[in-house]
Amino acid sequence: MSNTVEDIKPCFPLFRDEEYIESITNKQKKYEEKVDDEKLEEMYQWTTSPEYKELNFQREALTINPAKACQPLGSVLCSLGFKGTLPYVHGSQGCVAYFRTYFNRHFKEPIACVSDSMTEDAAVFGGHKNMDAGLENANALYKPDMIAVSTTCMAEVIGDDLHSFITNAKKKGSVPQELPVPSAHTPSFVGSHITGWDNMMEGIIRYFTLDKHESAVVGSNGKINLVPGFETYLGNYRILKRYMEEMDVPYTLLSDPSEVLDTPADGKYRMYEGGTELEDVKDTPNAIDTLLLQPWGLVKTKKYLKDTWQQPLNVVNPPMGLTWTDEYLMKISELTGKPIPASIELERGRLVDMITDSHSWLHGKKFSLFGDPDFLMGMSNFLMELGAEPVHILCNNANKRWGKAMTKMLRDSPYGQETEVHVGKDLWHFRSLVFDRKPDFMIGNSYGKFIQRDTLHKGKEHEVKLIRLGFPIHDRHHLHRSTTLGYEGAMTILTTLVNAVLEDLDEKTMGYGTTDYNYDLVR
């Protein structure tokens, strides 16, 4: 018994107490048939070697620690951004339990989502009955303004026809005819979470505009449509809206979950809060243009708009970092004729001021990155604007074309001459990469922490610290509320990066009576 009433310790540090160490060590010695520590150490060293890296990169079939999730997760996030919308997943219920949990852990918020709980009988006879009963129950219980239906791999493998199931359910009266029930096929064995977001967006836009776009008059409502893509920083939704408001540009943000994922604690649970108005979705073909803010992740949406709407569909880079935010604002100004206001210019000036203040700490610093394709594009571009050098860029869910475009962007800058780009690889590959060529830091989601630990074990000088930017972030609180887009987002990223560098320097110079000459007060 190690805990006393005066000193109650949870798992750590409790299990560092002697009696636990003894018990656990005995278990290992007597019953686990574990190989000896020397052999373990030798094998660990082997996993950090160039030889192992080569073997690791020969892998063709096995994926280890992927840097992606599956389609319906994305479709659920997209659905949550519409007013009064209940995300509905046609298929096995376990998937929805996972989606809700995964988002709960990232956002620290409730996630409302139902499934129609398909089981063996549905696997044999199809999920038609489940859809009828599911829509009826969901509508009765949760009274949504819209039910957005996507699928799991189960429903896709058995080939359920969503469109006819929904039509029949409406005919049967399971839900009212007028209740919007858009849908998307989101098989988990195609693409990733970003594909699912894209598919659901396309499904919703199609549902509301398919018969209306022909009568649309482009530009008649004076609005700009903004499509953020799979976006998990709540501040990013807010800054997109703020810039439009400051520029006095009417807009429709297509999927805006920033309210429903950030409701107050005041004694009441709000299942539906905020979100894109459904009326506004109907009006989108009348806008001046639609800007896709994650161009590499919005393939299907882009195709639909291009094939059916008459809008010019101007292409922009994600508004990440300094120059891409400049470009973005200028594009809006160009499209609407509205000038960029002094307030935003002031904000830009402040960002530039911050960059000048911090550049000496970031210039030449080396970063290895993993994450979604558009995030990696924007992030590497911003790093190079700061004079920092990307070492590895690894994307599990991009295509070869993205790899080429990324490489071209890197080679156009003096800071990207030696950057390696890896497409379709996973985090076990990434681990080999950072052992092979050590960066100063890695940038990515929480899963990177295991790589940090593994590099530290080789010795302090091999440690690659993780800077948490991306999705999911399960092991830190509230980072998802910050902003990574626009000048404001660049400020957040810059602050995060430069202070990581300074923290690291402090840690390395804290030696009492040894390295403390560089443990400076003023920086």
């Binding site: 636990y20 073997l55 997760l73 995964y102 499934s115 009963a133 949760y142 988990s188 005041d266």
Partner: protein, 481 residues
């Protein structure tokens, strides 16, 4: 503080909550909701469980894959557990359950890693057996110290008719290590419960006989811990007590467990089972095949711990009985200290639970040790034998809800206004916004252990820190009060 409902009030609350459902759904849900009557000893007379969830309701349940990979197999630390199918299932279940272990991750232990066959469209069309075969060899090449593999089937595997058993047999022979096919596709059964059963059957068929004829003579005090997943280190805090009373814990399933421990289990004298729901199957099998008796125990809270230690000791000689008394005598005053400190802060507080496995009944005693009362409880994926074991633990007119939907749970809570809710992460943020103190009782809210005497101290501390944190009093802006 919440007032206790009378039996009539509780029943009318249930009736009222059911009103919103369409007719057939109402009929179905009514069978899953009950008011406890201590005179009823058999749950089948009052509650239906382990049936399909209603489509379109917000069930909190998971799937068979979650039961097998997430609960039973995943924590076996020195094997690689392949999530066979598309990428999502493995990613969502990666390192989320806090099954603590010690080992060199990526070298001889693999618990927090995610191995997946990342199925693409072509794998669904042409089948994944060839890919699976290649994966086993690639894994063996990169992780030669792994003790074996399990293949955790995701939905498409069963639907496209892959023969993973054949591949498992062939590759297992080739690498001379067990490769275990587990047919835990998510669409099987109605919840994670069937996944536990399927996982147990795979252990029975592919692991337990591996040392037949080579097992040592069991020592007189050799036991195993079964159905402890070492959440936050629970099994370790249990293990030291069993060791202190003189028993020899040969195997720990499956938290911090290893293949060798599983293989050695047929040589123990007694299987001690904590989570009955997830591992009664394998315990029954070992009783039938190897003649090993098994018994349930409960290590939540000093009252139940002492009861359990004595019950366990009853199976052995005086040495162990004295050992149990010695352990109880040593810890009772320390536990009294914990109770003296926390009980005054928690006395009379009402708790609503909704959890899985063993906890909807096992933690009741721990709350009672702190003077708290459980006024509602229910199982995510329990069967009627779980409810049979629960009814005697509950007071009159307690609410019982099986596979409660999000809608029902919110309504019950609004009416009952408990002082604390113990449930999972999907419920946590809803009730916290409603201003009700909440502890995650699947993951111990990133704390723990909660088992054993060390665990009870932490449990008491955690309940106090939540129930009595100042944040709950700040929900209303002062100008609104």
């Amino acid at each position: 503080m919440a007032a206790t409902l009378t039996r009539e009030e509780a029943q009318s609350l249930i009736d009222e909550v059911l009103e919103v459902y369409p007719d057939s759904a109402k009929k179905d849900r009514a069978k899953h909701l009950a008011v406890n009557d201590p005179e009823v000893t058999q749950s089948k007379k009052c509650i239906t469980s382990n049936r399909k969830s209603l489509p379109g309701t917000m069930t909190i349940r998971g799937c068979a894959y979650a039961g097998s990979k997430g609960v039973v197999w995943g924590p076996i630390k020195d094997m690689i557990h392949l999530s066979h199918g598309p990428v999502g299932c493995g990613q969502y279940s990666r390192a989320g359950r806090r099954n603590y272990y010690v080992g060199h991750t990526g070298v001889n232990t693999f618990g927090t890693m995610n191995f997946t066959s990342d199925f693409q469209e072509k794998d669904v069309v042409f089948g994944g057996d060839k890919k699976l075969e290649k994966i086993v060899h690639e894994a063996e090449g990169l992780f030669p110290l792994m003790k074996g593999m399990s293949v955790q089937s995701e939905c498409p595997i069963g639907l496209i008719g892959d023969d993973i058993e054949a591949v498992a047999r062939k590759t297992g022979e080739a690498i001379n290590k067990p490769v275990v096919p587990v047919r835990c596709e998510g669409f099987r059964g109605v919840s994670q419960s069937l996944g536990h059963h399927i996982a147990n059957d795979a252990v029975r068929d592919w692991v337990l006989d591996r040392r037949e004829g080579k097992l040592p003579e069991p020592g007189p005090y050799d036991v195993s811990i079964i159905g402890d997943y070492n959440i936050g280190g629970d099994a370790w805090a249990s293990r030291i007590l069993l060791e202190e009373m003189g028993l020899n814990v040969v195997a720990q399933w499956s938290g911090d467990g290893t293949l060798s421990e599983m293989e050695m289990t047929p040589a123990v004298q007694l299987n001690l089972i904590h989570c009955y729901r997830s591992m009664n199957y394998i315990s029954r099998h070992m009783e039938a095949k190897f003649g090993i008796p098994w018994m349930e125990y409960n290590f939540f809270g000093p009252t139940k711990i002492a009861e359990s230690l004595r019950k366990i000791a009853e199976q052995f000689d005086d040495t162990i009985k004295e050992g149990a008394e010695r352990v109880i005598a040593k810890y009772t005053p320390i536990m009294q200290g914990v109770i003296d400190k926390y009980r005054p802060r928690l006395e009379g507080k009402k708790v609503m639970l909704y959890i899985g496995g063993l906890r909807p009944r096992h933690v009741i005693g721990a709350y009672e040790d702190l003077g708290m009362e459980v006024v509602g409880t229910g199982y995510e994926f329990g069967h009627n034998d779980d409810y049979d074991r629960t009814l005697p633990e509950m007071k009159d007119s307690t609410l019982i809800y099986d596979d409660v939907t999000g809608y029902e749970f919110e309504k019950f809570v609004e009416r009952v206004q408990p002082d604390l809710i113990g449930s999972g992460i999907k419920e946590k943020y809803i009730f916290q916004k409603m201003g009700i103190p909440f502890r995650q009782m699947h993951s111990w809210d990133y704390s723990g252990p909660y088992h054993g005497y060390d665990g009870f101290s932490i449990f008491a501390r955690d309940m106090d820190m939540t129930v009595n944190n100042p944040c709950w009093g700040t929900m209303k802006a002062p100008w609104k009060q």
